[in-house]
Symmetry: C2
Subunit: 291 residues, 2 copies
């Protein structure tokens, strides 16, 4: 997969239209401003690891309002500062906890959230994926998120980079003080079994490169191996100059349709046979810094 | 996903039968010897990185005989010794090269292999996955491998840990001196566009934890960042005492059926809602050291 840069792109003037048969990356690079939506700073977590690496996480209160409320309360109470990544299981999840666990919940914290594993479909109009999904009768995108659906219920799928709330055995639902991010082939058997609370927008490569834990389930074998979290803040609470300003592609835009079609049918010059199909989790919704 | 060890298992005697509603891991742990097949040492590569980390790769001459022939010739000529991992793209691939690239091919090396991207179905009897695959009209397992099929053609899918031969633009097919392993959500748009030559059996966690490259396409930005390969040997050529002896689960065994069903329908106590579905690449064929 030593790939040349597509020669056509180099010869064409750098205008809004991409080359004929553009790659998905070219479509994203040429996407007009109208194809992007700002990520609200009150839904954006900024996590800084001990070495300064930064991971941003968009929360999904549309799907898990009580869990995300707890997470934001912990961020505002500095409950994540001094927490740690305690588990990295290869081809599964990266998992981290608050500093004090269940010891010191902040005011307004809900100790036993409801099972926010799926929600009513209501006004959610799904832009269909257009290909079969082995995990759901229908799936697609809505408001910048991948979505799976069955009847009148919809939920966020466990794609690469999605963030969920760890829990013990049912009926416990987790309280949002222990979170995980998917680092793997989508473990969608977890869909509707845990509360998905958001997704990593940037910095997933920092999670990806962490040493795998050697204890059962990929937990680090000793506390010395834990990866310290310097802090997790809500972007809205940071000084304006240090707030990340990110945009997610509008999944109801014509550009997203073009991108989805190109993910499902690569006709750019490297490819000799387009797949004519794509999995829900193999269409990551594009993200960019706000220009 | 803080999980308790299933209590039932601890209370039951350690007999061949697993607990009622066992996890996939429990099914694998209890699998009888008849459910396993030895990996032939003349199809097993042993890669040792500079820090001593070991990665084993089973070759698939059933699918890419010319490419795998080249790879074995390079191993026997010590062509991989002193090679390097040059690319780690997050959520895509880890890629490595021989020491001398195209400079010094060993005797018998085929400079321009045919496009071994798929093959005739012939005598391949697929054990069906039983769920839709967005990338192929049918898919399943054969002889320990995941398989996708269309009409009279079959191919190895780009699942996590699968290894392929890098290439430049078509009609070049790569010569097997530059290999990649999938470290991500299955990039199955690559199916039938590159020659899949094998799969990582053990040590994928070493690839997973490598720093991501910061140059275009995840290449390391300078040669200093490359991860040196000490050597890659064919297991059959190693002294018997240092040969890994691995087994892959027989995909035509009743145990594999039980495992596949459990992957598609988790009914063990952690789960509140089985998926009743699973993706081809989310059923990794189990591997164990030969007891």
């Amino acid at each position: 997969m030593r790939r040349f840069l597509p020669i056509l792109t180099l010869l064409l003037p750098n205008i809004a239209a991409a080359a004929p048969n553009p790659t998905p990356a070219e479509i994203v690079a040429h996407a007009p401003d109208a194809a992007w939506a700002d990520v609200p700073p009150d839904r954006l977590l900024v996590m800084t690891l001990a070495d300064g690496a930064q991971v941003t996480i968009e929360l999904a209160p549309q799907f898990a309002p009580v869990h995300t409320g707890n997470i934001v309360r912990q961020a505002r109470a500095h409950g994540w500062d001094g927490g740690a990544i305690v588990r990295v299981q290869d081809n599964y999840v990266v998992q981290w906890t608050t500093r004090d666990g269940k010891a010191k919940p902040p005011a307004g914290f809900v100790a036993h959230p409801p099972a926010e594993y799926d929600r009513a479909r209501q006004d959610i109009a799904i832009r269909p994926l257009g290909f079969p999904d082995p995990y759901a009768p229908s799936s697609g995108f809505w408001s910048g998120w991948p979505i799976a659906a069955e009847g009148d219920r919809v939920w966020l799928p466990h794609c690469y980079g999605m963030v969920g709330a760890g829990r013990d055995m049912p009926p416990d639902t987790g309280d949002g003080q222990e979170l995980y991010a998917v680092n793997s082939e989508a473990p969608r058997q977890l869909d509707r079994n845990l509360a998905v609370v958001g997704r990593v927008l940037t910095g997933m490569e920092h999670f990806g490169a962490l040493p795998r834990g050697t204890a059962a389930l990929g937990f680090y074998a000793s506390k010395d191996q834990n990866v310290a979290i310097r802090n997790i803040s809500l972007a809205a609470d940071l000084p304006r100059a240090s707030q990340p300003h990110l945009q997610v592609m509008r999944t109801d835009s014509p550009t997203f349709t073009e991108y989805l079609n190109a993910r499902a049918n690569r006709t750019d010059p490297f490819f000799v046979r387009p797949a004519n199909g794509v999995a829900l989790c193999n269409v990551p919704v594009p993200v960019r810094p706000k220009p």
